[in-house]
């Protein structure tokens, strides 16, 4: 740890962090106004069950994502088999489906006349025993299916980027495959797994769509209901502040355990010679990956296609539909671009001038992700109404809310990319007389290109799917696909909700392709 230096990176990140802290300030200002007896009331009635519900859900989702994500990543990164690139796609495509769409599709599939529901009745002959999704198991299933691609992605790229020499050296020294995995591979990919599981946990804590569709009382849903059903901002803020503390504790712990291990790869050239899968292995690989993607992507996609087909036949798709799609794309592209630019100083400041201040900035930048979307939106809304009323109701306000919400995604991937770069190359550039900007432009950015691309794509995808902030802050008459899905789904207009969901998936594919291409180029 160094003493903090307020250089250009420092001051820029300070400014970004200040912006990101708006919702947190809003929460703090409101929660201090809550009288003590109400705090005690919350403590005695709601909090225990909220803690239990939220933590239980997070734990189940983390376990689910770990199993699904790490197993699929290892199989795809370490075995060469027929259809490997298809498998890769199948594992990341669930990213394109928002949690509320997942929840909606699964409630409709598990319905008595849904596909899975009728299958269940055929198999077991009993409608009453169809598993209910309106409980922790159902929500955990939905969130694990939609969250495991994050674990897959980071673990997969860590497996590809780890230096093969280490495993080779271990093998030469007579280590068995199992020993190699536990003593070499596992420690090398542990930071990636930890980071991705942290991301999954944060998604769980702030998820609004699935929990509100499935009515599972987590902190986020309870906060939303306090705000919207009862107009009780102070209790909502109090619950939010507790949620933030919970999440920050978790983040600090995660970083503490991770900060002990850093690996710089001295040599960027990597050539993995990947084992070909045997017949038996091929069979196992495809049944496992097929099972995962059946539930995580193929079934939902089939549902969307079926209902979209109905919509085309019934001609329910007007010109408005294309307007929603365009709006979604516009706002997601703007938000992703602004976000990666805003995140850069924070990552640079933390990796190159590490100090307590950079650490503080890093933690503060993640508040938008930790706070429930509806709270972030309300905080940003209040900020604009009171200080920048001219911009209220414009796309700028919505963009800022989205940037605040997804800044941590960008910071995480950029920081991960930066910390794998040894600073010595930058130092060499400086020694040879290049200025800081030239070094950034010619050395740092190109070398962290994959991290930047990943950051852009991740933010783009999340912004494309974003619901609560868009609902509240969209300019008048500016409807996006998620907003329409939300409105139509509550009216059971499957013919409108399904094409919108399908359109979201289609819009995500080019972004995912860019990301995959950039990782492949580097290997």
């Amino acid at each position: 740890m160094l003493r903090p230096r307020l250089n250009i990176q420092g001051s820029l990140s300070g400014m970004v962090v200040l912006l990101a802290a708006i919702p947190l300030l809003f929460v703090m200002l409101n929660s201090v106004q809550l009288p003590l007896d109400k705090w005690l009331g919350l403590w005695n009635t709601r909090l225990p069950s909220l803690f239990w519900n939220t933590l239980l859900l997070a734990a189940l989702v983390v376990i689910g994502c770990f199993i699904l994500g790490v197993s699929s990543a290892w199989l795809i990164a370490r075995r060469q088999f027929r259809g490997r690139s298809v498998a890769l796609w199948l594992m990341i495509l669930p990213l394109a489906i928002p949690t509320y769409v997942f929840a909606y599709i699964y409630t409709s599939l598990m319905d008595v006349d849904g596909w899975l529901g009728s299958l269940w009745i055929t198999l077991f002959g009993n409608a009453a025993s169809i598993p209910d999704l309106y409980n922790v198991g159902g929500v955990a299933l939905i969130l694990a299916l939609s969250g495991f691609p994050y674990v897959f992605l980071l673990t997969h790229s860590a497996l590809l980027n780890s230096n093969p020499h280490m495993e080779e050296a271990a093998r030469i020294h007579g280590a068995s495959s199992r020993e190699i995995f536990w003593r070499i591979t596992a420690p090398l990919i542990r930071p990636a797994i930890a980071a991705s599981l942290a991301m999954v946990t944060l998604h769980v804590l702030s998820d609004f769509g699935a929990v509100s569709m499935l009515r599972y009382q987590t902190f986020t849903l309870s906060i939303y209901l306090q705000m919207n059903g009862r107009f009780d901002y102070q209790s909502a803020a109090a619950l939010s502040s507790i949620l933030v503390m919970l999440a920050l504790t978790f983040l600090v712990l995660e970083r503490f355990f991770r900060s002990r291990q850093r690996y710089f790869s001295a040599n960027q050239a990597k050539t993995w010679r990947i084992k070909h899968a045997s017949k038996k292995e091929l069979w196992i690989i495809w049944s496992w990956l097929g099972l995962i993607s059946l539930f995580a992507f193929i079934l939902p996609l089939a549902w969307m296609l079926t209902w979209s087909f109905e919509a085309v036949i019934a001609q329910t798709l007007g010109s408005e539909f294309w307007g929603y799609a365009l709006n979604s794309l516009v706002i997601a592209i703007i938000a992703a671009t602004v976000c990666i630019v805003a995140a850069l100083p924070i990552g640079l400041f933390h990796t190159r001038f590490r100090s307590w201040l950079s650490n503080l900035f890093l933690q503060m930048s993640s508040t938008g992700f930790v706070l429930p979307g509806p709270v972030v939106a309300l905080g940003v809304m209040t900020f604009f109404l009171t200080t920048l009323p001219a911009l209220y109701g414009t796309l700028a306000a919505l963009t800022i809310a989205l940037v605040i919400r997804f800044l941590p995604l960008a910071v995480q991937s950029q920081e991960a990319a930066l910390s794998q770069l040894t600073p010595s190359i930058e130092q060499a550039s400086r020694v040879h007389g290049a200025g800081p900007l030239e070094t950034l432009w010619r050395i740092t950015l190109p070398m962290m290109r994959n991290g930047m691309v990943a950051a852009w794509v991740l933010v783009f995808i999340d912004a494309l799917k974003e619901l609560p902030a868009t609902l509240l802050l969209r300019p008048i008459g500016f409807d996006t696909l998620p907003v329409r899905i939300w409105i139509e789904a509550s009216e059971e207009m499957l013919e409108v909700a399904a094409p919108a969901a399908l359109m979201l998936v289609i819009s995500t594919i080019p972004a995912l392709w860019i990301m995959l291409r950039s990782t492949r180029q580097s290997t």
């Binding site: 671009t337 309300l378 109404l385 009323p389 008048i476 008459g477 939300w486």
Partner: protein, 342 residues
Amino acid sequence: MLSSRIILTTTLLIVTGILSGIAQTAFARDETALVIYSGRSDKFVKPVIKLFSEKTGIKVILHTAKSTALLNKLRAEGPRTEADLYLSNDAGNLQIGADMGLFKAIPENIANVIPKNLRAPDNSWIGLSARSRVLVINTKSKNTHFIKSVFDLADPRLKGRLGITHSSNESFIAGTAVYLESKGEAKTRDWLEGINNNSDGEAFNKHSKIVAAVAKGRKDVGLVNHYYIYRHLDKSPDSPIRIVIPDQSPDSIGVAWNVAGIAISKYSKKVPQAQKLVEFLISTEGQKLFAQLNREYPTRKDAATAAEIAPLSTIKVADVPMSSLGRLRNKTLDMIEAVGLP
């Protein structure tokens, strides 16, 4: 290498810049248009709005979301709001908005065509269409003939045979508020516990699914808004279901009722146009279209009701002013939560 990087970066920045530019101009809305914060499904609002625009030349933009969320937005925006009108399916929300001082009273000479109990005491909102909480019963079910009142749904004989919505449903909350006001706290708590027991802790996420379940005999009785039954009968007219309008005997409370209504935002800068829209919505023509699109009851007595629904004159309605639904909201929510309905 360097040049391709420059090209890529600049392209991205330029595209973003252009998009922002286009977005600001192309998405800039028509400033003369009326803005409605609408918590009602677009398909039931758009045809009426379209007719209004054709007649008057006044454009209207629907900003649709959940009623409560929009009310929250309206409150947070205060004088900065762009909303000219607020439309909700729930009188409770409308009255809460009125109590927060978000609305501008509609002149009595416009409002007086609507009965007093279907609008706010100070005319800060006006009911446009009404719906009743009725029972749907499978005609082949056994032992359901004793059901005459909503309170019979708590009868243990219906164990496992009752379909209800999730307790967060605004119609469910409003109905419960009416029972609470008519029958008192103790009786309503018993009722909530009874129906919780009879529904086996299972709740439907949509009213339409309750009707479907009753039609298939999976459940014998359901508590729903009346129009869901007609929607189901549209698709399958031979379904073995009958409608029971509960609590009609002389000593009962009458069927619970809720209205969808409209209010003019206090900070609207287009009050004359907004009033024109309200006037249109409560004209006989507007009323007929607005209510019949969803087969609700027009709040204006002389407007035609959809042919298939029971005429209003034959129904006894619970004597609870719609404006009291707002006051009862939090108490009702507390009771529902305490009983632990799903």
